[in-house]
Symmetry: C2
Subunit: 354 residues, 2 copies
């Protein structure tokens, strides 16, 4: 759909070691904690007094992304964001990543260079070092396996399990936009498949498309929390939709919650797209996923620190009624929250059918 | 070929979160450096004064393994060994792993539990903590992405790039056996495919089959080096065959080498199998791969420390002639060493055609 490949070098022309050399020749290291990057059996790191955060994610073609509307460079960028988001969700700064790539011979060397260009752009922007990886062939499609490390002083690290009853529930930005972008892209793909002469009609939807194709991890929040002298009591990133994530926070903290529909931040463009598809915008926020915003709780005594602060949206509070996780609708009705978010194993049955 | 599945639970019956719960319910943590394992956005680790080693590997069905002769539990075990071997090759102890699994619906929950059982057995034996992961569906087959962390005092870490001219080249055990085992398994698979009533004829080949199906990483060598007060000057693990690895050591250290054919340690069972397949046993050692022995260099002044020690085989020495990497044959001929080892991208063209 958006492909434009000028030169095609077959993977078999280079072989693994020369390919890795070519892909990683422009990799620089920036972090003080990186002692040795790519090129040995393992990278060498040194974290001194800080604690180390470690997380890993798999992205599979046909499950997590569709190459017909995902530009390769954006895919590389997004793959990094998905991982950085997990470190930000611990209130820590990402420091290093490793990248595992498995590709079928459908992909050229130039295609992999595009993916790497997106990854390295993300690394540069977020001051993260690419310190190792593995590149191999796959029997079908593209598989991206990323592991990310981060660091933080022990006292700063925020877990999912430490919310207290009465804590305010806060979101770092608007929700549902990435899913709205996906709805548009899928519609245009269908139109294109029926008649390839029709150009995609995506004008006026820049924001929701960017949220889907080129999300940003909220690493900036780590600094913001420090500036505000604010310690969230618990935190998680919103990758699978608000419903799924708030359930995680409640279950890990053995608490319940009340969330107010009218408080859930949704961009007007998301509302427009949702209505075009006859969906309730709140459904996009609850079950859409891929927003990569942070969902966190703060003590009520910290209310003044966030009240009126741009980008912080208080959407409810934690309760000690473990069995009760409710969305209070605009009409005042209490609707039990259930997780219908993105599930990598059940994706055929959920709202996302990539 | 060796399959025996009694109960089959479909992956879609559980969904991602319940599957992860089920697979990880028996995961224990043992390492002092593990502060928090599975269950949050990231694991929390604390390495204090030691440096951290980080490595990652992808294993793809149909490229790196063949389910028709690889028992699931062995596959899990081997997947961990492949990674621990990279940490041992830095003269460091492995501490944590993360496991990414992508599976098609061909696999049942019980099949994944078997793989996990093998992984956890490996973790227990090597005192390694499984601290995180990702489980998702794939469009075809099974993909295993493992990242391993390890630790060591800075002064102990051994890189590839630090060999000196005149250093002795040493191997920690015999070579070529894993490849001999693969040759046998592939032959029996062919026989089985032609006539499923014929049972595999693998008697008398336990050693080479174990080397292929259930290798051990040489983590024990890290302790052995400490006991002998021996600091290798450079080191790499033999995953792609001796030829490929010695070229890595030479190129990273900007040196050449002389290796003596008669000194290369090869088990008699490997010799028997190689001859059955009309191959020179040394070819199995040079190009076979998957031995997971350590290839390292030591200063000549340390000769007495390893001379006569069981399991250490001095096979040659490093030279300052960068352009010259030679195998000296039994007849005294100098044969340039070329890398024809396992290449995940070119595998169709190499001796390994899994």
């Amino acid at each position: 759909m958006f492909e434009n490949r000028q030169k095609r070098t077959e993977l078999s022309e280079l072989g693994e070691f020369r390919l890795i050399d070519r892909l990683t020749k422009s990799v620089a290291t920036r972090q003080k904690s990186t002692v040795l990057g790519i090129g040995d059996d393992a990278a060498i790191l040194n974290f001194k007094k800080n604690q180390v955060l470690l997380s890993t994610d798999l992205l599979i073609e046909g499950v997590h992304f569709d190459m017909s509307y995902m530009p390769l460079k954006h895919l590389g960028y997004k793959a990094i964001m998905v991982n950085l988001s997990d470190i930000a969700a611990m209130n820590a700064l990402p420091t290093q990543i490793t990248v595992g790539l498995a590709v079928s011979n459908r992909y050229s060397v130039e295609a992999l260079e595009e993916i790497y260009a997106g990854m390295l752009l993300a690394c540069e922007k977020y001051n993260v070092d690419l310190v190792g990886g593995d590149t191999t062939s796959s029997t079908s499609g593209l598989i991206i396996a990323i592991t990310v490390l981060g660091e933080a002083p022990q006292k700063n690290i925020v877990k999912r399990s430490t919310a207290k009853s009465g804590d305010l529930i806060v979101v770092s930005g608007d929700l549902g936009a990435a899913y709205a972008g996906l709805l548009l892209l899928k519609r245009e793909k269908e139109v294109f498949e029926k008649d390839p002469s029709i150009q995609p009609d995506l004008e006026g939807y820049t924001y929701v498309l960017e949220r889907q194709l080129r999300p940003e991890a909220r690493v900036d929040m780590v600094e913001r929390f420090a500036d505000l002298n604010l310690n969230p009591t618990s935190m998680i990133d919103i990758s699978d939709g608000l419903a799924s994530e708030i359930i995680h926070l409640c279950e890990e903290s053995t608490l319940g919650c009340q969330i107010y529909e009218e408080k859930i931040p949704i961009d007007p463009q998301t509302v427009t797209v949702a209505e075009t598809f006859n969906m309730h915008p709140v459904t996009c926020a609850l079950n859409g996923g891929e927003d990569y915003e942070l969902l966190f709780t703060v003590s009520q005594s910290d209310f003044e620190k966030i009240n009126g602060q741009a980008g912080f949206h208080i959407i409810g509070y934690m309760t000690d009624t473990v069995s009760s996780k409710n969305l209070i609708s605009t009409s005042g009705e209490a609707i039990p929250i259930t997780a219908q978010g993105w599930d990598g194993l059940k994706n055929k049955e959920t709202t996302r059918e990539t």
